[in-house]
Amino acid sequence: MSEIKKEWPLWEVFIRSKQGLSHKHVGSLRAADAKMAIENARDVYTRRSEGISIWVVESVNVHASNPTEQGPMFEPSDDKVYRHPTFYEVPEGVGHM
């Protein structure tokens, strides 16, 4: 038999707290496989009905941006105000849009 890895891999857990919201990262846990990771996430992170949907991703598969490149990565969009609704004026009578 091939050698067994000692420790269960680490998984990142994302939970949708209610319909209409996106999944949010809540923490991590250890599990042998994806099925178990989802079960464990349900038992560990939704003991008080915190969620209706769970995503798990093995932590080694999460690729992150480098924080020292925060400038080039995110600042260019800071001045694209036209992407934000408050950039546009709407006559008072129309109410909320």
Partner: protein, 323 residues
Amino acid sequence: MFNFVAMQVENDVKQMEEQFQAKIDADIRIEPRDWMPEKYRKTLIRQMSQHAHSEVVGMLPEANWITRAPSLRRKVALLAKVQDEAGHGLYLYSACETLGADREETIDDLHSGKAKYSSIFNYPTITWADIGAIGWLVDGAAIVNQVALQKTSYGPYARAMVKICKEESFHQRQGYEIITVLANGTPAQKAMAQDALNRWWWPSLMMFGPTDADSPNTQQSMAWRIKRHTNDELRQMFIDATVKQAEVAGLTIPDKDLKWNEERGHYDFGEIDWEEFYNVIKGNGPCNKQRIEARRKAKEEGMWVREAAMAYAEKQKSKVKAA
């Protein structure tokens, strides 16, 4: 030439340290992949893992009464509470993993005696009232500390604390409820409650750690906002909040020097037996060996289970690949 490079590196580090401290001073959270001083990282791992160990070892004295809880309502509440503590341990180990501290290694440090955990869990739970006293005093003391830590500078730690504090809110209440029901019960029940308070009061005060004069790392931890109040400040907050609760329950706090100090606006209290504290930390508490033994046994006896799950997972993976 060599010296010049070394100096350059030193300057860079100094500059990064200054930027780092400026972020902390501006209350900007540090996230896992951000640059941080090595000592900050080490101190954090130590503090978070100690905290995680305390949650998990802390399950044992209370779990001791699950099978003997006096009513079904108490049994399920206690079970849910101890389970929460397992969850807290897990959240904190998970926070440690964000800094690359592998859980298994972290736990091995606990089992080998290298890592510490809260000294309070080395005291025995000998009556049902101890379950009340732990919820009321020990969780009460923990909450004082944890509420402050919700604003700690390290993001994953702060977020874990927010979750933990939300869950803790029922722990102290269920403990205090147990105590007040006993205090208002038969003479035997009341005696049981008072006895538990007598035994748990002083160890609870020790939970906040040595006096400020004797905790040399406090200064740096405060500057890094890993700690948001000193040990003595937190201890005083806890005492001030608890005295009234004991009064309402009709129980006497076992400290003849305890009295309100108008000038300070706080309660004065008696001398803590620090010799006992240091001995319990060193391993000489009544239950140190028993607690670590129980955790080690759980890990050892669980090994074949973890291996089996891993072997099964790998077989499934290779089946998928082969197909």
